[in-house]
Amino acid sequence: MQSIMKARHRWLTLISIALLTGLTACQQQKPWALRDISGIVAPLEFHLTNQDGQKVDASSYRGKTVLLYFGYTHCPDVCPTTLGTLALALNRLGPDADKVRVLFVTVDPARDTVAVLKQYVNAFGPQFVGLRGSNDQTEELSRRYRIAYSRENPDRQGNYTVAHSNAVFVFDAKGNARLLGGSDDKADAIAQDLKRLISAG
């Protein structure tokens, strides 16, 4: 409980700093639609397995604008809603959509095998990548990005849900953390920010 509160507190601090940074940026140029997290969140770094069973790391996606999202495939509502919004945003980019990759990291590696992930990400589009790691790797990555998740008690059939943070982290082509989105952000706003990031290189 305490760690959750701490995590929450950290987030509040981060968001406050982000808001302040956003305010300062306002004076120079148009603000981002999403929250600016430049210099606050760690750069893109991970070692995981993709939906084709290949070992990948952050360098595999260098040169692409990366959206990082944590979820699980047995999530019927929030995860597909968020991924659907991201798919819609990518549609608005036209051919530039290929300059973006959506990395879906499962917080439920027990059920989300490589095969399950492959079917799942293919349903959303060619820019979607499914990633999984061991429990330790997933834990380590969640700490790096301060993502809270917890497996809830299974029902009588053994089905369980995983409560998880719904943040979408946006990294530029060099792997620097730039923006933070959430489940309330609309496709238009996300597309607008992605265009700006892509055109800045």
Partner: protein, 167 residues
């Protein structure tokens, strides 16, 4: 065409000729089924209408979400208690919610609706969690789901199957 000439006993899948008596039994059975379904229909009819009913399809046998808008057109309040369907073995009513910075789902036992009220099952909020498909589904399929209400009432609604990225 050549197969038509093969004598019956050499066919792999031959249709047995039904005895007249058996045909009558089957006929009576079908009639009884029709009568039963008519009964169910007569019991239903709460003053409620559903529209925009849709299911978001995910691959394999992953749990799906069902969404719809429900309007209480009657003069009395009633409670939505749950749903069932021949297409899924288990259906739960859920509410997505955020607690301590984490999204999670709460199981919902019942939702009361006052007269004139609209209840939206919508992405990121209330949804039917549809589990264990009886058979595979495809985009554009129509799936019947029965919504159950207080007072032993129910409403049959056709849900349209939409793609993974649909909202």
């Amino acid at each position: 065409m050549m197969q038509c000439l093969i004598e019956p006993k050499r066919r792999f899948f031959s249709t047995p000729v039904l005895s007249t008596r058996l045909k009558y039994t089957i006929g009576a059975g079908i009639a009884a089924l029709f009568a039963l379904s008519a009964c169910t229909a007569a019991m239903a009819a709460p003053e409620v209408s559903a529209k925009n009913a849709r299911i978001r399809l995910l691959p394999g046998d992953l749990p799906l979400a069902g969404y719809f808008d429900l309007v209480n057109q009657g003069k009395t309040p009633f409670t939505l208690l749950g749903a069932s369907s021949p297409a899924f073995k288990t259906i739960h009513m859920h509410l997505s919610t955020e607690q301590n910075g984490k999204s999670t789902m709460l199981a919902i036992e019942g939702i009361e609706m006052n007269p004139g009220e609209t209840l939206r099952f919508t992405p990121g909020g209330y949804h039917l969690m549809l589990m264990q498909r009886v058979k595979p589904l495809q985009v554009d399929d129509q799936v019947p789901i029965t919504l159950k209400f207080s007072g032993n009432q129910s409403l049959d609604v056709m849900f349209k199957v939409q793609g993974a990225g649909s909202q």
